[in-house]
């Protein structure tokens, strides 16, 4: 893997985003507006805002980046540019890392904007470090990017790709512990939630909302989310085929 080709791919993806200012505006504004809406809804329920706010701060970017990445990769697969790149001296790892870095960078900007507004303007409070919430939001967004990259291989049309959001993300949202604490789920569902990455993403922010110090549970949770992201990226690279039928 060379830095030159990975970096070129990252710059190319960011340049494509740059030609589409409306998408950039949506990427930054949508999570920020949603958090503002949540703050408004819960304006007289501080405890609830502290409970729902931090996890959603990570989940909104996860969903947005999942959608953007799956559509971007699918476009690359259907318009022939991926096939062309793979007949050139570009490795699969360079392609996947190029995308991960480009959307990772986008995710950092997005997480900083939405966290800054949440803590600065919407009055969100956590017991732990607000910066660590930003870190979780970035890792969550990277997970969304990684899942989008790998799952887009299963879709052959945009219609299918867009449906993967309700198919793969919404069940995790139901099971991740926001609606009902995971310990109170029926046994089978608890087991299921144990193998879903969003459970750990939400677990990490819940640790930050309640504990002042960095707990070992927090480190385990964020580590698991990172590993899920890495595994999804590897899977994404493995689904790229130089030869097709």
């Amino acid at each position: 893997m060379t830095l030159r080709r990975t970096g070129a791919t990252t710059r190319r993806v960011l340049r494509q985003l740059g030609h589409d200012p409306r998408t950039v505006a949506l990427l930054l504004a949508v999570p920020a507006v949603l958090m503002g809406l949540l703050a408004w809804i819960l304006r007289s329920r501080d405890a609830d805002f502290s409970r729902f706010g931090p996890p959603l701060l990570g989940i909104f970017p996860l969903i947005v980046m999942f959608l953007v990445t799956s559509v971007a990769t699918l476009r690359e697969r259907t318009n022939g540019t991926l096939e062309r790149l793979l007949t050139m001296p570009l490795t699969k790892a360079e392609f996947v890392m190029g995308y991960a870095l480009a959307f990772g960078f986008t995710a950092v900007v997005q997480a900083i904007v939405v966290s800054g507004l949440s803590f600065g303007l919407y009055g969100l409070h956590v017991s732990g470090s607000a910066w660590l919430v930003v870190v979780v939001a970035v890792v969550d967004a990277l997970l969304g990017t990684a899942l989008g990259l790998s799952l887009s291989a299963l879709a052959s049309t945009e219609f299918q790709a867009v449906q993967f959001m309700p198919a793969f993300i919404l069940p995790q949202l139901l099971l991740c512990g926001i609606i009902v604490p995971r310990s109170e789920l029926p046994t089978a569902l608890h087991w299921l939630s144990d193998i879903l990455p969003m459970s750990y993403a939400v677990g990490a922010t819940q640790q930050l909302s309640t504990s002042v110090a960095v707990t070992s549970e927090f480190l385990v949770d964020i580590g698991v989310v990172g590993m899920f992201a890495a595994a999804a990226l590897l899977l994404g690279a493995a689904t790229l085929r130089r030869r097709t039928r």
């Binding site: 030159r4 190319r12 030609h19 318009n79 050139m88």
Partner: protein, 237 residues
């Protein structure tokens, strides 16, 4: 010198249908070969087999003595698909600069290929705003970037105005003159006369492998449509 392309008993099956059936031919370096045949006869599949993006059922495909799809060949073979495979949301020069970096060629190559395909006025235009023919030329320019030894071009002249078609064929002939091997497909039989060598294809088989002059002479035809028809009627001609 080893041939640029060597295909032996190539067979490709897609979706249970034999798309390429027992095709064999060799092409010496520096030849401009036309791959002609009706839509759906297997031209694209044959070309994909050459560049190594097609899973083949049997046979041998070698380029410059190496199996098709070898990592070594990736910088030596340029492939242009029928649909322009470039980024429609980037400008012409942004597209070419990216592919130039992936190929590891000098930035000066970008200006050279823009000039070769005659897109000098559009360097800073977003590809999606160009006409179909212009987009096809951006795709062609991308393939020319690495000065590949073999160019595989799938219908590069479709929908272009006659002047531009003449210029592109002149470019192809010029490249062949400097030692580049080109395989250019077309479903327009008239383009046959621009080639040094013809492969006529029908239903996944090679119907004729000949020079344009000899093909017309032995079928007693004055145009390539008629030659094709008489070959279908009597393959032993």
């Amino acid at each position: 010198m080893e041939p640029a392309i060597s295909v032996e008993h190539l067979q490709v099956i897609r979706g249970g249908r034999t798309v390429v059936a027992d095709v064999s031919f060799t092409v010496p370096s520096g030849t401009l070969v036309g791959l002609l045949g009706p839509s759906g006869c297997g031209k694209t599949t044959l070309m994909r087999s050459l560049v190594g993006t097609q899973v083949v059922a049997g046979g041998l495909v070698e380029l410059f003595g190496q199996p098709a799809g070898s990592p070594n060949l990736r910088s030596q073979v340029g492939y242009v698909t029928q649909a322009p495979s470039v980024y429609s949301d980037l400008t012409v020069s942004e597209n070419l600069r990216y592919f130039a970096t992936v190929l590891g060629v000098q930035r000066s190559a970008v200006d050279r290929v823009i000039d070769e395909v005659g897109l000098g006025e559009h360097t800073d235009t977003v590809v999606g705003r160009l006409s179909g023919g212009e987009q096809a030329r951006v795709s062609l320019a991308t393939a020319l970037l690495g000065s590949p030894r073999l160019l595989v071009l799938d219908e590069p002249t479709v929908g272009l105005d006659p002047l531009l078609r003449r210029d592109l064929w002149a470019l192809f002939a010029g490249l062949a003159g400097t030692g580049t091997t080109l395989m250019v497909s077309s479903h327009v039989m008239d383009e046959a006369e621009r080639c040094q060598r013809l492969l006529l294809m029908r239903d996944g088989r090679i119907l004729a492998d000949d020079s344009p002059e000899s093909l017309l002479a032995r079928t007693g035809s004055t145009d390539f449509d008629t030659a094709f028809i008489s070959l279908v009627a009597d393959p032993s001609t």
